[in-house]
């Protein structure tokens, strides 16, 4: 039962352009969403998060948008840099719950 889905396994963009990574979820109880970034041979590292009371959260080049009615969130990276090349995992949880569900990840490649 995959409650968090990332339907694009890979994405390739040119340096300087915008990268948009998408994520859908099915559990309407989720109220906190996160994006993690993973380089090869390393563990996932936290990137940015958003609470369900917001529809947008921005941190430098990274912006996460949440559309609760569509159960959809997206991560925008602008401008994209070659160092952003990694696998990005979308995650969702219920506040104060000890469980977190992850999507399958999207491999982003930023070409110089």
């Amino acid at each position: 039962d995959q409650q968090v889905k990332q339907n694009s396994p890979s994405l390739s963009v040119q340096e300087g352009r915008i990268s948009i990574l998408n994520c859908d979820y099915t559990n309407s109880m989720f109220d906190y969403f996160l994006w993690y970034k993973k380089y090869p041979a390393e563990g996932p590292t936290f990137l940015i998060s958003i609470s369900s009371i917001k529809d947008k959260n921005e941190d430098g080049r990274f912006t996460v948008f949440l559309n609760k009615s569509a159960k959809h969130l997206s991560l925008h990276i602008v401008p994209s840099q070659p160092g952003d090349s990694a696998v990005y995992f979308c995650a969702a949880t219920i506040s104060d719950n000890n469980d977190m569900r992850f999507g399958a990840g999207t491999r982003l490649t930023v070409k110089p």
Binding site: Q2, Y32, L34, Y36, A41, E42, G43, P44, T45, F46, S49, V87, F89, A91, T93, I94, S95, D96, N97, N98, D99, M100, R101, F102, A104, G105
Partner: protein, 111 residues
Amino acid sequence: DTAVSQTPKYLVTQMGNDKSIKCEQNLGHDTMYWYKQDSKKFLKIMFSYNNKELIINETVPNRFSPKSPDKAHLNLHINSLELGDSAVYFCASSLPGNTIYFGEGSWLTVV
């Protein structure tokens, strides 16, 4: 200082063996986890402990047994290893419902 550290990073072992992966966090978090990243790259939760008590136990074979001697440690012991156990196992920790911090992963290969 590594916040969540797990050892060994790489482990190659034969079918039928028993092995353990150790995990320690120095973040002062109450909650620790074991996640498995399978061949399809899904990150799936296996166990969650809060203050040494088991909170989440997903559908995982009984051959997998977590042990939490204190809230800074959560070790994973696997009995009678099978080929299908080959995966990357990630330890993690967090405050309840908050951002999860992962270790670097332990690459287990069963031959």
